[in-house]
């Protein structure tokens, strides 16, 4: 009797696991099977044509890459500096540490649509319009949704990812390294720059990759801060709007004039986004795993 109950508990737990993995496999399988049919070089290199029922997604890929690039330029250096504070300078008993820690943890849980509102309220209407008043005499230049403000919004959203990943690696650097460096007469800054940081590059890389993967997939934060429904030309200045892969999927899926004609295109676009984010995630996972096995050796 007891054995029967025991066994059924294990079987139940195992089948729940199996169910989750099956659903993952169904989603991926479905997208790969339907997505590959239209995938071609033309699809990746052409703009959308004929009311988005033909052509490709090049502007969306271009916009997404530009977005994550600008985002990383802001989020990675800043995130690394904050991680240095957490790992090297923070005094664990201090109130400042506790508040900062809580704020960063909390930031990681803010809904993405709220970041969208924040981006609109703070960057576009706040900073953008203030700059317009100060620099351009009230002319509308920066006070409108653009790729610059979209990437800044995304940078704020991905900041906790960078901070947490980099901090984790810095903490893994053995304390003896720091002590040895300080004993040789190096200052705290020199120790961090010459000893701790070189040991943490893999963490910085992982943090950047995870941030890019997250930023490439999010749509809600850029809906009102710069992503466009359709643009005939590529963004060339920071105050241009842009097309984004995720937003393009949303547009194709919900606002297409001809659903059946768009479907193959839609599937291929989803496949491209999925391959992009998965490649990034897997790379981050591999780096992390190698880092850990290196650390325990």
């Amino acid at each position: 009797m007891r054995k029967a109950i025991d066994r059924s508990v294990v079987i139940l737990c195992a089948s729940a696991t199996l169910l989750i993995l099956t659903m993952l496999a169904i989603i991926l399988g479905n997208i790969v099977v339907h997505g590959t049919s239209r995938l071609s070089w033309e699809f990746l290199s052409q703009p959308p044509l004929q009311g988005m029922t033909a052509g490709g997604i090049f502007p969306a890929i271009y916009g997404t890459v530009l977005l994550v690039l600008l985002m990383s330029i802001a989020a990675v250096p800043f995130g690394v500096i904050v991680a240095i504070y957490f790992a090297e300078y923070a005094k664990k008993e201090s109130k400042f540490y506790r508040w900062t820690r809580m704020a960063v943890n909390n930031l990681a849980g803010v809904p993405s649509i709220v970041f969208g509102l924040f981006g609109l309220g703070f960057f576009v209407h706040g900073i953008g319009q203030a700059l317009d008043r100060g620099l351009y005499g009230g002319q509308l230049v920066l006070g409108q949704p653009s790729i610059l403000w979209a990437s800044m919004t995304m940078a704020v959203l991905t900041l906790p990812v960078v901070i947490i990943t980099v901090e984790e690696t810095m903490r893994a650097v053995p304390q003896e390294y720091r002590e040895a460096s300080l004993a040789l007469g190096a200052t705290r800054l020199q120790t961090i720059v010459r000893v701790v940081l070189p040991q943490s590059w893999s963490g910085v890389l992982t943090g950047a990759i995870l941030a890019v993967s997250r930023g490439a997939g999010e749509v809600a934060p850029v809906l009102f801060t710069g992503a466009a429904y359709y643009l005939p030309r590529l963004p060339t200045r920071v105050n241009d709007q842009f097309m984004q892969l995720g937003n393009h999927i949303f547009v194709l899926a919900t606002q297409s004039p001809d659903v059946e004609a768009t479907k193959p295109l839609l599937y291929s676009t989803v496949l491209v986004l999925l391959v992009l984010t998965f490649l990034l995630n897997v790379t981050a996972m591999v780096i992390r795993k190698r880092m850990r096995s290196w650390a325990t050796r």
Partner: protein, 321 residues
């Protein structure tokens, strides 16, 4: 009496002058200031979000623009019709929609994620465990717009074939897709909690003659309970704020119905769907920011509680953070 003159100044190497030392110290101090300043900025971001999202909603407290004020979000009729001739801004239908979809997602997601966490941490052979964890992490890597797309195209058809429902897009459709999105969070946090239970808890239980399964359910799970609670709270917080999935899958009609097969309009989806078309600074615009502020406050509280639970468990198990 003067002390012995042996150590009057710091020993220096031949190439290091006073100026070098001063410069080094100056750099060190500047760097520390900059780093502390960066940390303060990071801390203030969360306040900035609250201030800048709340600021746009604040005039609702004393103004009535286009029939929108703080009162109009709460008084009957229970209708959300922001673009009709006499706009109605009662947020109750949106609260109901959010709760309906979120609870469905929790009901579907929590048991699955918990059972899977239990299996991975207690029963699975180690080599299998090495595969399950990254696979579920991969599920977390699927962008929510992709999950929404899948619900829109594939899942909705499947549900319609099963239940023969009238509305193709409904709360159940969104709830299942949302469950898939929160399973990785609940799984990861509770698996961490279960694994963190010290091995000697298990050994003591086994030594008393309990089976591995009894140990898992009566010893390991109770010890990890605060962590499991944290997992559920964090999953709940994520589900409330998730936007693209519900926007694409839930049908978006603010129906006053409890049926899972009826349409639902959530708070997050309302913002995403309507903010693009409102007049800047108008009543509708302000109400949408008010909903955003509500979302921010609710998810912040949930995250804070989740964090506390997690910390409490670690305190209980290890006596320190």
């Amino acid at each position: 009496m003067r002390s012995s003159p042996i150590v009057t100044e710091l020993p220096r190497t031949s190439n290091m002058t006073d100026r070098h030392l001063k410069r080094r110290r100056f750099l060190d101090r500047t760097a520390e200031t900059l780093i502390l300043a960066s940390a303060s900025i990071a801390m203030s971001i969360i306040l900035l979000i609250f201030v800048y999202v709340g600021r746009e909603a604040l005039p609702l407290l004393w103004e009535n623009t286009d029939g929108a004020s703080i009162v109009s979000t709460a008084v009957p009729p229970l209708e959300w019709q922001p673009v009709s001739e006499r706009p109605r801004y009662n947020v109750f239908p949106l609260l109901l929609g959010t709760l309906k979809v979120t609870l469905l997602a929790m009901l579907i997601g929590t048991p699955l994620a918990l059972a899977a966490a239990m299996y991975t941490s207690e029963f699975a052979p180690p080599r299998l465990r090495e595969w399950i964890k990254p696979a579920i992490e991969l599920l977390a890597g699927i962008p929510s717009v992709v999950m929404g797309f899948f619900a829109l195209i594939v899942l909705a058809s499947w549900i319609q074939a099963q239940f023969g429902n009238e509305f193709r897009y409904n709360a159940l459709n969104a709830g299942i897709a949302l469950a898939l999105a929160i399973i990785p969070i609940i799984y990861t946090v509770s698996e961490d909690a279960l694994t963190a239970v010290p091995q000697h808890y298990r050994e003591a239980s086994l030594a008393l003659g309990a089976s591995r399964i009894q140990t898992a359910i009566r010893v390991v799970l109770p010890a990890a309970m605060p962590g499991v609670g944290a997992a559920m709270i964090l999953g709940f917080g994520r589900a409330i704020g998730e936007t693209m999935i519900v926007l694409m899958a839930s049908g978006n009609a603010p129906a006053l119905s409890l049926s899972p097969l009826s349409s639902a309009r959530t708070m997050s989806a309302t913002i995403a769907a309507e903010l693009g078309e409102v007049v800047f600074g108008g009543g509708h615009y302000r109400v949408l920011f008010f909903i955003g502020t509500l979302l921010f406050v609710v998810t912040s509280i949930l995250n804070w509680i989740g964090d506390r639970y997690n910390r409490r468990m670690r305190m209980r198990l290890f006596g320190a953070e």
